[in-house]
């Protein structure tokens, strides 16, 4: 139901470590906001397109991502062109295009689990101070992914049942029972998890 945007492949981008890709993306983001030179920004946008191309993902798979982007981009460029003139509009459009394409390339070539690992490492300093538990973050993410299709299915079933009784679509009468069922479900799931003593206590014995 919620397949990842990740596209399997063997390109150099696929093999680069997730943490490195994220760091490079963040650095590129800062650099692009600081420059206003059109040739540099155009080069960056081309490089972004090159990166997406290098992932080897079929264009068809990119369409939902790209159409959404095209709307936002069009609005931003049109608004800036009217308000600040064509030079600013071109700079804003190219900057956005470059950033979003580069980010798309990272998303396409990095497994969600690898990003999660990189995230757990980034969270390690917080974990050492006892502010959060990285394994609990992993459990929470797994739970979300497990229950999205379930809850979406329940929403469809509720809607169908109400339509069968002649009720028109109404956000209040649809979402109230959906949430109540979700809250009841959460109690059952929490009990099941605790009954299995999961997540396990951290092993603190020295290796």
């Amino acid at each position: 139901m919620t397949p990842s945007l990740y596209r399997p492949g063997t390109s150099r981008l696929h093999r680069a470590p997730a943490g490195l890709k994220l760091a490079a993306l963040a650095a590129a983001g800062i650099a692009l906001v600081l420059t206003g030179s059109l040739p540099v920004l155009a080069g960056a946008a081309l490089a972004g397109a090159g990166l997406v191309r290098a992932t080897g993902a079929p264009l068809r798979a990119l369409r939902p991502q790209v159409t959404g982007l095209a709307w936002v981009l069009g609005v931003v460029v049109a608004a800036t062109a009217v308000l600040d003139g064509p030079h600013q509009a071109a700079a804003a459009g190219l900057r956005l295009l470059a950033l979003v394409l580069a980010a798309l390339a990272v998303t396409l070539t990095t497994r969600a689990s690898d990003l999660l690992d990189a995230l757990e490492r980034a969270l390690a300093p917080l974990e050492r101070r006892g502010w959060l538990r990285a394994d609990r973050v992993g459990l929470a993410v797994a739970l979300v992914l497990r229950f999205v299709p379930e809850i979406a299915g329940q929403a469809a079933a509720l809607r169908e049942a109400q339509a069968a009784r002649g009720l028109r679509a109404n956000p209040v009468t649809l979402i109230v029972p959906l949430i109540v069922r979700t809250l009841i479900r959460a109690d059952a799931v929490a009990e099941a998890i605790e009954a299995r003593s999961y997540p396990p206590e951290k092993d603190t014995t020295p290796r």
Partner: protein
């Protein structure tokens, strides 16, 4: 943070994602149909409270960062976060926390109409005020347009969000009356 808090947050995050999958619901004569996903952000604060509500929204944002198409219309990935609307995404988190904190402080009890009216106010301050407070400066910075212009452009969405605040309060009222849980 107990296991129950974690599971409640995770399942509510799943609910927010699922709300992005169901088609927009038309409301009366309003020209803009309600896209329920940002409704879910207000609901997270109203129903779970600031800590768990904030965690639920943070999980959704985390999934976006991880590249899962969890936003309405199948959008997701790092591009959304660094893009022009990324501030609104981070604003969601702040919005759920503010909404939850307000409602926990001022309307914790059984919900009559006074509490429901207050919940609308909490949604206006958290779900709109806090979200736009992060979203507009971000939009202005990323696109290079001025603050006032970014605010003007975002103002188009305010009427729809006001309707969502009312709908969220009515939903929260129904849930609280059917299945009250403590706010945390």
């Amino acid at each position: 943070m107990t296991t129950r808090d974690l599971v409640l947050s995770a399942l509510f995050a799943a609910l927010i994602v699922a709300l992005g999958l169901i088609p927009a619901i038309p409301v009366g004569a309003l020209p803009v149909p309600i896209t329920p996903q940002s409704l879910g952000v207000m609901l997270a604060g109203l129903i779970l409270g600031p800590v768990r509500g904030g965690l639920a929204v943070a999980l959704v944002v985390l999934l976006v960062v991880l590249g899962l198409p969890v936003l309405s219309g199948g959008r997701g990935g790092f591009g959304v976060v660094v893009g022009p609307t990324g501030g609104f995404l981070l604003g969601w988190f702040l919005g759920a926390v503010v909404t939850g904190a307000l409602v926990r402080r001022f309307a914790p009890g059984p919900w009559g109409w006074r509490e429901t009216a207050f919940a609308v106010l909490a949604c206006l301050l958290g779900g709109i005020g806090a979200v736009y407070a992060l979203g507009i400066p971000w939009l202005a910075a990323v696109t290079g347009m001025g603050l006032s212009k970014a605010a003007l452009g975002s103002a188009v969405f305010v009427p729809g969000d006001v309707v969502k605040a009312v709908v969220a309060a009515l939903i929260a009222r129904g849930v609280r009356r059917a299945y009250p849980i403590d706010l945390r």
